[in-house]
């Protein structure tokens, strides 16, 4: 029951519950969004330890090739996958690595000091690879 003379409460209990309810829904929305970001993949190419090329990977882009500057190392990007398709190194280990498709997949060409990595927006699950 309200009277015309100065009400003591600014917000009635009913208003308060409504506001808190709405705010809680906003809270859940933010948290849900933050926890469910899809992993965005990108390819990063390093030469002599420096990044020389970086490109987002998306299913929508047409396949293309990229030659690492001043080398004979060629990578092919197809949708969300990358592979080293040719190199002038004697052992061809980079080429034999095959398709890189998930975050953390890497191909290394030691003689050319080239590293091709697929990275995701989420933190890496693996800290190192032995073997």
């Amino acid at each position: 029951m309200r009277t015309e003379s100065a009400p003591k409460k600014l917000i009635s209990p009913a208003d308060g519950i409504l506001i808190l309810g709405l705010v809680f829904v906003c809270f859940l929305f933010f948290v849900f969004r933050a926890l469910n970001q899809p992993d965005e993949l990108r390819v990063v190419v390093e030469k002599h330890g420096e990044i020389v090329y970086e490109q987002k990977l998306s299913g929508d882009t047409d396949p293309f090739e990229y030659t690492v500057e001043d080398t004979a190392v060629v990578i092919s990007v197809h949708g969300c996958t990358v592979s080293v398709i040719s190199s002038d190194c004697p052992d061809q280990i980079c080429v034999l690595t095959g398709t890189l498709q998930k975050a953390g997949d890497t191909a290394v060409c030691l003689p050319n000091q080239v590293v091709v990595r697929v990275l995701g927006s989420h933190p890496a699950t693996v800290d190192g690879i032995t073997g």
Binding site: A6, P7, L10, I11, D15, I19, L20, L22, V23, F24, C26, F27, L28, F30, V31, A34, L35, E46, H48, G49, T97, G98, V108, L110, Q113, V115, P123, T125, V126, D127, G128, I129, T130, G131
Partner: protein, 353 residues
């Protein structure tokens, strides 16, 4: 009735303002909460360099991360210059050149490493032997591997034997007592590099770091989110992972027949030589991964265990309180007790014993 002087804001407007304020406060709380749930990331630096014929990759966490990573990279190269027989004027090159002649003084790091490695030679009954150089040079896996003829193998085998290494601790000098005897630390260089990096991280008060020198890995400190380090073991038979080790720390090295090999007349020859035969070790294993508290030790033990085979490796590992994951030629996987709860196999086609 007294009129109080109030600003012309109705109670309805005030309610809306209060609601908006609450929303902003809770949005902030939500963002902070989800950031907390995802875990702290902290300041992190990655660095890729090349040493010892390998890619050296570091991830360092902490305020001096960049300086520490650069210093560690420099330490790895310095170590290579000290212990590689290939590098002119390295301690080992000088030592090999003086075989059968005189004592050669060694720098601290080389001396310490040599003493540690001679112990593994002894404990492994010579399965790991740092004087393997005459045979490893003959097989030449690093450049142009080919099958040497049996006479050559027999001839060079006579110069292999760690018992020919005489260490004078008082003067920090070493002599190779047999001419043509030579030391090759190639089997342990990468692990030793991880130790050198860990020393640098300590000096720089690094919070946490992981260094990979080829396939040898060193773990330092605790990750910002306090979780275990996840180290993948490569599948020895196909592309991809065999499984993942979840470790609180330590040093990891792997020896595998698939790493360097060639085929001749339908026979596969791999680079892990058995010093007693002069031929690639034939112990029923395709790979062994060792985890222990020193990089050089993990590297030496992985070589020793590959040559010894599963059964005979166990006492050696126990002596050093080290653990290992073995993969046999029959696709069986053995995990020693210290790693039992810490290895998750993910590849298909293997049976865990």
């Amino acid at each position: 009735m007294k009129q109080s002087i109030v600003p012309p804001i109705s109670s309805k407007t005030l309610k809306i303002l209060a609601a908006v304020l609450f929303c902003l406060v809770f949005a902030l709380a939500a963002i902070l909460f989800s950031s907390w749930v995802q875990g702290p990331k902290g300041k992190q630096t990655t660095l890729s360099t090349y040493s010892m014929g390998s890619l050296v990759q570091q991830t360092v966490y902490g305020n001096q991360a960049e300086a520490a990573a650069s210093a560690a990279s420099f330490a790895v190269t310095s170590l290579e210059n000290q212990i590689s027989w290939r590098v002119e004027n390295s301690d080992i090159q000088k030592l090999n050149a003086a075989s059968g002649k005189q004592n050669v003084p060694l720098r601290d790091t080389t001396a310490k490493l040599l003493v540690q490695m001679l112990d593994v030679c002894e404990q492994s009954g010579g399965a790991f032997d740092i004087t393997i150089a005459p045979l490893s040079l003959l097989w030449n896996f690093d450049e142009a591997p080919s099958l040497p003829n049996a006479d050559d193998i027999g001839y060079f085998k006579q110069f292999v034997g760690y018992e020919n290494v005489f260490y004078d601790a008082a003067h920090q000098q070493v002599r190779l007592d047999l001419e043509n005897c030579a030391i090759d630390l190639g089997a342990v260089g990468k692990g030793a590099a991880c130790d050198a990096a860990a020393a640098v991280y300590r000096e720089h008060n690094v919070k946490a770091a992981v260094i990979a020198v080829g396939g040898s890995i060193g773990l330092y400190g605790t990750k910002p989110d306090n979780s275990d380090w996840n180290i993948e073991i490569r599948d020895p038979n196909k592309n991809g992972a065999l499984g993942v080790l979840h470790l609180a720390g330590g040093f990891i090295s792997t020896s595998g027949s698939y790493e360097k090999f060639f085929e001749e007349n339908g026979v596969l020859y791999h680079h892990l030589l058995d010093p007693s035969t002069g031929y690639p070790a034939d112990s029923g294993l395709v790979s062994v991964t060792v985890v222990t508290d020193s990089g050089a030790l993990s590297d030496a033990l992985s070589t020793a265990c590959f040559v010894l085979g599963y059964e005979e490796s166990l006492p050696l590992l126990q002596h050093y309180a080290a653990d290992a994951v073995f993969v046999t030629v029959n696709n069986e996987v053995y995990v020693t007790s210290g790693l039992a709860d810490r290895f998750d196999i993910t590849a298909e086609g293997y049976t865990i014993q």
